[in-house]
Symmetry: C2
């Protein structure tokens, strides 16, 4: 019973996600869905990322949180248009669904951007189940979270196109086997690129920014 | 539509949770629901906790994960009975529901224990919505997750009876305002005890263990 209903919810979401995808394709906008556990450093990573790609790539951000506009406030300081979604209006939803993205995107001038970042709710489980019409998905994992997360949350790592391994500045202070993490990621999603960064120390960003710019430009080229 | 169905699921869960609660009360077992983000150190905290309370307090553990038996394997090494629940058998559920606890508890000799620990799925959102028949709830938050988590995930902090602030050994290496975290916790749940520990360095456990022992003994006394 519960499972049947969940399937129907996912079917409805799938249709709405396809509508979003068509709209974004028409506008030539590359859409990135950024997911992670709470506190892995999504917002800090995006703040830095924006500083690398602006103003070359015209970007907007949709930020999902259950409560508060803390993350949106931080990202708005970079100068990009930011729309905050608070899911406590939808019963405290643990993920962003496609209809929420459609509504949030209607507050953005889509003719004026080439890149839309969606910072999802901090949750390593549910967001991976919901297509929002994105082109690519990235999971941010911090080294303080331990080595086995890819094995324990396989759907997230299977569904993503790249992983960002954050907080590598803390490696000297942890009992942590980075190679084990990398091996676990490859076991779940062979060949997935992994970018090792420290958002607070601003290190390791170049390969990630290059990957991102290529994706955005390739989407623009498909439009023209 | 979606909301109505979710309510029904929660109603069914509530009834099953009450059955669990009655059973645990009859046996004089104190049940603790331990929740947190992925990677905050729940398992490490419980490993240490068991070393402090065993063999004085006869304990069993139910461990929830979507996949793997890593955590159960670690906890079983302490010598306590451990039951692993993998929710990928239930569609990859993001929380432990009351019926799952009922089934898992049927694999434990309830006449032989005074304390049942439930290590929930790593998720700061959904587990807080599901009563499993527990006596108390504890949220583990690590200092690497940032200061604003209590404000961003208020339900979790409102629903818990105590918070454990883990990984305090990393404070010297972080840009982190501990007092701001403590203030945010008190804003959401005034008076909630907060225990500052480092599970890896084995520091700060005494007040937490004292709190816990008092709870377990008080439940035993209610039975006799």
């Amino acid at each position: 019973m519960e499972i049947k209903v969940v399937r129907r919810v996912l079917d409805v979401n799938e249709k709405m996600a396809q509508q979003n995808r068509n709209l974004f394709a028409e506008k030539g906008i590359f859409v990135l869905n950024v997911m992670s556990s709470p506190g892995s450093g999504k917002t800090a990573t995006l703040e830095r990322t924006l500083s690398y790609i602006m103003p070359e790539i015209k970007t907007a951000v949709i930020v999902g949180d259950i409560c508060t506009s803390n993350d949106a406030d931080r990202l708005a300081r970079t100068g990009v248009p930011v729309v905050q979604v608070n899911t406590d209006e939808f019963g405290g939803d643990c993920h962003l669904a496609a209809h929420v993205i459609e509504k949030a995107a209607s507050n953005i001038d889509l003719d004026d951007i080439d890149f839309l970042i969606v910072e999802n709710i901090g949750n390593l489980v549910c967001p991976a189940e919901f297509d929002i019409g994105e082109d690519a998905r990235v999971v941010v994992l911090s080294v303080t979270e331990g080595e086995d997360k890819p094995l324990k949350y396989p759907l997230m790592f299977r569904e993503c196109n790249a992983a960002i391994l954050n907080k590598i500045d803390l490696l000297p202070y942890l009992e942590y086997d980075k190679n084990s993490t990398l091996k676990n990621i490859q076991q779940i999603n062979p060949g997935m690129p992994v970018f090792e960064i420290s958002a607070t120390k601003n290190t390791g960003f170049d390969p990630w920014i290059e990957w991102l710019k290529n994706k955005v430009k390739s989407k623009q080229n498909k439009k023209s």
